[in-house]
């Protein structure tokens, strides 16, 4: 695989997406305002919760804001990089237009993921940086290179696990075209705005290793706060590698079920 060629095509796709977004500036403004409104709604929700209780599942108000910041960052990366491209897959399969992708001398998975990159989603990443920068000084938190590096590593692994899981879900499109099951996963992902510690231990186990929701937000946020069990710094990369390997294998295997029939 020629990595240089893939990197060049990726940057060309980013440039194309940027030009498209420039053409639809009103959409960009609407999307940013939507991010801000959604954030305002979540902040009001959290404020009402903390109006009633000082902490939830061991998380104070500013710790929860930090968690929200991490959530928005991962969501922004996920939506900017692969989600919207993969969301197009059911249409490609239904209409038979995946043919055009398969005949090109590039990885089909790569082509599908870059088919839609959206600069609107960068606004979520910017808001997330603001939220993290706002909440950290309000906490009893001492800067440590170890925590920061561990956080970046776990955050990277979390993003890979999220990519892999979503890829597996979308790959099932080759078997069932119109069930919109990805909506359930998106909904589950939204729920990671809530720390997993509020659940009973058995459910926490399920949300860590079976449906790995805890990996996406709670574990990275805990790492930054210096509250994570160090074992996860080893578990996270192994788990991420395993998820990526399985999801790519599943994609390659499932391609043979593509019927190339339009409907």
């Amino acid at each position: 695989m020629n990595v240089k060629r893939y990197v060049r095509i990726y940057f060309l796709s980013i440039a194309r997406a940027y030009m498209t977004d420039l053409e639809y500036r009103a959409n960009f403004v609407a999307s940013v305002s939507n991010t801000l409104f959604s954030l305002a709604s979540t902040l009001i929700f959290f404020n009402i919760i903390y109006f009633r209780a000082k902490e939830i599942g061991g998380w104070s108000k500013y710790e929860l804001l930090l968690l929200l910041g991490v959530y928005l960052f991962i969501k922004g990366v996920f939506e900017f990089t692969i989600r919207k491209g993969l969301d197009r897959l059911p249409r490609y399969v239904r209409k038979g237009t995946l043919d055009g992708v398969l005949v090109k001398p590039l990885s089909s998975l790569f082509q599908v993921t870059i088919s839609k990159l959206d600069f609107d989603d960068i606004s979520q990443m910017l808001v997330s940086v603001l939220l993290i920068s706002y909440s950290l000084p309000k906490l009893v938190w001492v800067f440590s290179w170890v925590y920061l590096l561990a956080f970046l590593l776990v955050l990277f692994c979390a993003t890979l696990i999220l990519f892999a899981n979503y890829l597996m879900i979308m790959t099932t499109t080759f078997y069932f075209t119109r069930i919109h099951h990805e909506e359930i996963y998106k909904n589950l992902f939204q729920m990671t705005r809530i720390p997993m510690d509020i659940y009973p231990r058995k459910i926490q186990f399920i949300f860590t290793y079976i449906i790995p929701l805890a990996f996406f937000v709670t574990i990275p946020a805990k790492t930054l706060l210096g509250r994570l069990d160090p074992a996860f710094i080893i578990i996270a990369p192994v788990f991420a590698a395993l998820n990526i390997y399985l999801s790519v294998k599943f994609w390659n295997y499932s391609l043979r079920y593509y019927k190339s029939a339009s409907g």
Binding site: A26, F45, I56, I179
Partner: protein, 267 residues
């Protein structure tokens, strides 16, 4: 009236067929609503556990959120989305040529989608009930249950008119993504689907009581759980009826202005 009835049924049947094709999507819609609600419920249970003097106890929280799933689904309409799609695609032109009102069509479309999707809810209710049966607390007289049903009908009316009035903005804006985000946020805060009115701080509570969003989910639940009683029930119904009337009355003139603005072009 008889002819209108026939036309309504014809549109209803057509949409029912369409919905039958997407019945798995209906199931996903129900499951999705249930998952979101269960997460929020757990969060409020954790809040109640960490708080002193929380206004709702465990059975009340569980009953509130489990009932909120069918209630919010029963009052749901897709009128704004329907109008947006038709105006954007230019398909709306067809409705200007048809021998019956756009609202008749929209109502039939909503009812068909609603009935198909509610059918998928039926097998889920007993499963969820079995799982939470120790915490579900359903009491109340016949009168309370009757008022509960009426409040759902009221919620459906308020939402139907509300969505259709807001749908008219599409004639001017075409892309209503931003506006729908604003109203979606307001609805998320004040409808009671995520935040029960009983736990709101006093200032927000007084605002929520005046807005139409309360009728989408909260008001029927307040009625059946006994969170509103006596004259408050009456004032609640009065506020809802007023909102339905206001939206219903401004719809026609606004719709007329919108049609004048309509350019009949689409993507």
């Amino acid at each position: 009236m008889g002819r209108l009835h026939k036309k309504f049924l014809a549109v209803y049947k057509a949409w029912w067929q369409e919905e039958l094709e997407y019945r798995v999507a209906s199931f996903t819609w129900i499951i999705n609503g249930l998952i979101g609600t269960l997460f929020i419920m757990v969060l409020w249970l954790a809040t109640a556990k960490s708080s002193q003097g929380f206004p709702m106890n465990v059975p009340q929280i569980v009953t509130y959120f489990l009932l909120s799933v069918p209630v919010s689904r029963l009052t749901q309409v897709w009128s704004w989305n329907n109008m947006e799609e038709k105006v954007r695609s230019g398909e709306f032109t067809n409705f200007l040529l048809k021998p019956f009102s756009y609202l008749t069509f929209d109502l039939a479309e909503n009812f068909a989608r609603q009935s198909m999707r509610l059918l998928t809810l039926v097998p889920i209710i007993p499963v969820v009930y079995l799982f939470f049966r120790n915490d579900v607390q359903l009491t109340g007289s016949f009168q309370v249950w009757f008022l509960f049903i009426l409040s759902i009908v009221l919620g459906l009316m308020v939402r139907f008119w509300y969505e259709n009035v807001l749908g008219i903005t599409t004639f001017w804006l075409i892309d209503v993504y931003g506006v729908s985000g604003i109203f979606g946020t307001l609805s998320g805060i004040f409808s009671g689907s995520a935040i029960p009115l009983a736990v709101m701080p006093p200032v927000l509570l007084s605002i929520a009581k005046l807005l139409p969003f309360r009728f989408f989910t909260s008001f029927p639940l307040e009625v059946v759980l006994g969170q509103v009683r006596g004259w408050d029930v009456f004032y609640g119904f009065l506020t809802g009826i007023l909102w339905a009337l206001v939206f219903g009355l401004i719809f026609k003139p606004l719709f007329g202005l919108g049609i004048k603005k309509y350019e009949a072009v689409g993507t």
